[in-house]
Assembly symmetry: C2
Amino acid sequence: MRSWIESANDADCHFPVQNLPFGVISHSGGPPRCAVAIGDRALDLAVLEDAGLINAGAGERVFGQSVLNHFMELGKNAWEQVRLQLSDLLADGGNDVLKDDSDLRARALIPLGQVQSHLPFRVAEYTDFYAGRQHAFNVGSMFRDPENALPPNWLHIPIGYNGRASTVVVSGTEIHRPLGQMKPHGTDEPVFGACRRLDLELEMGAVVGLPNQMGEPVTVREADDMIFGYVLLNDWSARDIQAWEYQPLGPFQAKAFGTSISPWVVTKAALEPFRTSTPEREKVLHPYLREPGPMLYDIELEILMQPEAAGRATSISRTNYKNMYYSAPQQLAHHAVGGCRMNTGDLLGSGTISGPEKAQYGSLLELTWGGKEPLTLDTGETRSFIEDGDTLTLTGWAQGSGHRIGFGECSGKILPAPAEKNW
Amino acid sequence: MRSWIESANDADCHFPVQNLPFGVISHSGGPPRCAVAIGDRALDLAVLEDAGLINAGAGERVFGQSVLNHFMELGKNAWEQVRLQLSDLLADGGNDVLKDDSDLRARALIPLGQVQSHLPFRVAEYTDFYAGRQHAFNVGSMFRDPENALPPNWLHIPIGYNGRASTVVVSGTEIHRPLGQMKPHGTDEPVFGACRRLDLELEMGAVVGLPNQMGEPVTVREADDMIFGYVLLNDWSARDIQAWEYQPLGPFQAKAFGTSISPWVVTKAALEPFRTSTPEREKVLHPYLREPGPMLYDIELEILMQPEAAGRATSISRTNYKNMYYSAPQQLAHHAVGGCRMNTGDLLGSGTISGPEKAQYGSLLELTWGGKEPLTLDTGETRSFIEDGDTLTLTGWAQGSGHRIGFGECSGKILPAPAEKNW
C-alpha cells in the first residue's frame, strides 16, 4: 500500500501509511491537539474531525483534546474505525477528499519540523519491569553473584516496581542530573551531591488503553486487548543513588528524576505483522502468565550518544525487542492479578532490552561493564557514564517488506545538576 | 472555643470546631461535593459557597467539585481564609448567619449517618515510606538478622517506594483478598492462589497540596508548606506474596490490591498545637534532611479488629504517630531532592507506626510475630493474620485541652479472593 504523500513511501521512512502512530502536537500558535504522523508530516486530527472526515464514534469530539486518553477510553472498535478512516484518506486509490482539497491539506498536514510534540497521553501511573534476561543476568553478575545472577523469582514472575508518572516527559525535554545520596566505594558514610554514574536504559513502553476493575484479574489475552500501543522509553537511571537506596524496597530517587518517551504511539494494529513469541520457558509458568499466542514484537532498536560539542551522534548499541523474556501482556496480567486496577494511560516499561552480545546491551552500565571498560565515541571521546551536555537518542522500527513501522526518536539531553539550596 | 452545634463540644467528639477536616460527601441523592465535619454533622461547602458565605478566593467555585484537588491547588492563603470563614460561621459568638437561618442549616448541615463519604481527593500518585524505627527493627529481625536488623541506609534516608494510586480507596470500601504467587516454606516451586498471610499496616498519610517543579529540590521547610493535611492510612499487605516478589525491586502486587484512607483530611492548621520533634538522631543527617522545627505530631492511634460474626471489635494495638523516626516533610524533601515533581493530590504513607512495646505494634506481622503468637480477640477467637469477613478499623486523635482533633475512622472489610479465571 502506498500513500499519495510521497515522503511516506520512502523505504526508510518511519511513518508510512501502514503505521499511522498517534501523538499530540501544537503548531502555528494553536493549542495542543491529537495527530498522526504520515511521511514527513503531522496530520492534525482535530481539523479532520471538525471537517467530518473522521469520527471516533463517541458522539463527541475527542481529537481537539490535549491528550489521547479520551480517544483511548473509547476502546478497540473506535481505534480500528479511525485507523480505517485515516488509511482510506491517506492511501493511494482511497477517498480523495483530503488529497484534492488544497485548503484542507494546508490546514491539516503540517511539516514535522514545524510542530511541537507534547506528551501524547496523560500518564496515569508508570510501572517499570525487569524482563530482559540478558540485562538481569548482567546486573546480577555485576552486583551480586555470576553463579546466581538471576533472583530466585525471576523465571517465575515478570518482576516490576512502580515508577513515578509525574516525571515522564516527551522526547526533546531536557533532564537535570539528579542530586542524591550515594555511598562511594571505600567511604564509611554516605555523601550527598550530583549523581556521578548517570545512565540510560533502552526500553519499550506499553500504553494501557482500557482499564480493568479493582479486584478483577485479567487473562494474558484480555491484557493484550487492553493495550493501545507502544513507544520507545528511556528509563534514565542514577546508578550510584540506586546502589545506596534500593535495599530493601527497590529503586526510588534513582529513577524518579525523568523518564523519556517517544512522541508517537505506534498502535498494536500497525505492529500485528511483527508479532513474535517469547523465548522458550526455562521454568513452567503458572497458567495466569501463559501466552495464548505470540505477544512480543520484532522491533530493531538502536542507541545513539552525542556529546554537546560533537557534530554527530555515535551508535553505541543495536538490539531487538524480541529479546525480552516476558511480553507486555504478561506483565499487565501479572500487574492486575492481585486485583490492582489498571487505568487508561498507564505506562509499562519493558525493562532494559539487552541482546546476548556486548554490542547489544541496553545500558551504559552493561556496555562499559560498570564503568570499567569505557566506550570510545566516533569523535574519539570516551564515556563510562553520561556527562553533562550529552544527548542520548533511542530509535527503533519493525522492518516490513519495503517499508518500516517506525517509532521515530526518543531523545533527551542531560543538563547539569541544580545548584544546591541553602538547606 | 465552643460551637453552637452542641455535639461538637463533647470532649470525645472527633470533629470539634477546632478541627474542621475536609472531605467529599454525597447526600440526598445529589452529586459528590466538598464538606467539613463538625460534631455529628457534615457541612456541605457547596451550599455555603453558593450562598456566598465562604469563598476560597479563586474567582471560581471550587467546593461543588467531587474532589478537594481544586481547593488544595489554591494554596495556603486560600486554605487559611476558608478555615477562618468556617470557624466564624460555626463558633459560638461568631457570625450567626448560618446559625440563624433554619432553611440554610437544613440544606447545609447533614447528619453524618446520612452522608456517603467519597475519596476526598484524586490521588495523583501514592508513595509509601518505611520510617518507623521499631517496625523496621521488627521486620528486619524476623526476615533478616536481629543483629543487623536495620538496612545500612535506614538511619540516613527515609526509605520509600512508589505504591499504586489506582487502588487507594476511602474507608468503608470492601477489599478482596488478593490472588498471587507465593513460595511457602519447604516448597521448591512457587504456588499460585489466594494470599494466606493477609495483614494491615497502621500508617498516617500526608496529603500534598502544592507542587514543586521537575528538577527543583525543596527544603524540609518548603516541603512542610506543601502539605495540606493528614489522614489515617491502612496499607493492606499480602505478606506471603511480598516475601516471594520483593527482591530485588521492592513490594509490588503485595501492596497493590488496596490502600484505605479515612474520609476526612485533617488540616495542618488544626494539628499545629500538637507538633513534636522526631527522636534524637543516631546518625547525623545530611543538611537537606534536617528539620528546622518540630514536624511530627502527637497523635494517639488505635487498631480495632472485628470478625464477621462478632458483635463488637477488639482493640489490638495502641500507638502514637510521634514514634516515627522521619516526619512527612523530611520524606517529601527526600522525595523531591533528585528533581522528582510532586503534585497536588500526592499521598505519602508514613510507614507502619509501631511503638516500642509489643501492644503498640502497627501490623499483625509484628503483633503475632510472624503468625507464631496468635492474638486472642474479645470473642475468644484467635487470629494470626486477617480472615475473610474480618473488618479492620484504624482510629486516631490528637488530645487537646477538653477537645480532640480526631481523624474519625479508616475501616475496611476483607472479602474472599475472586474466583480464579479460566486462564
